[in-house]
Symmetry: C2
Subunit: 99 residues, 2 copies
């Protein structure tokens, strides 16, 4: 299984707004082939650090999604003011090797 | 839900050995109250970087496990030579805030 981990940073004022946007997400990805699940994690130590974790059956499915109209539509739903203030700090690609 | 994320580093020679140890783990944690699941992720870019991710119903359950005999017994199963070469690079505590 493939894991995409995106580390996002927002201001303290914007953190709850971004969490709210994730909670109201359109769930367009949920029906996408190869998608397993998605979670958003907030750091206990630093509430401005949010990690978006998505799991996929394989990397190719993730890549197909990232290039899809569904991904563009999901992204376009984000308020432009909020979107402009989200800083992508780190993007990681990993594989599940044990459970 | 609470997430504990431990970023581990081993030498290229030891990476497969550590993955094997995780695959053969005693699963003592699996019956522990509050435990949800555990995965080990290997970075695509850097195979020496392994991330141990465990999910718990709440942080108190994780803390109880870390102080338990089950945790000590699990840790004591690791080959001392391997254990000595595992570097804990980062330990993070997070909460699931959206899905």
């Amino acid at each position: 299984m493939y894991v995409s981990l995106a580390r996002l940073r927002v201001s303290a004022e914007r953190a709850d707004e971004l969490i709210g946007a994730f909670r109201r997400r359109a769930k367009l990805v949920d029906g996408f082939e190869g998608f397993v699940d998605l979670e958003v994690w907030q750091s206990d130590r630093d509430p401005c650090e949010l990690t978006m974790v998505s799991r996929w059956t394989d990397r190719a499915s993730f890549t197909r999604y990232m290039r899809s109209a569904a991904h563009r539509a999901s992204h376009d739903r984000i308020d432009p003011g909020l979107d402009a203030e989200i800083k992508l700090e780190r993007l990681e690609h990993l594989h599940v090797v044990a459970r």
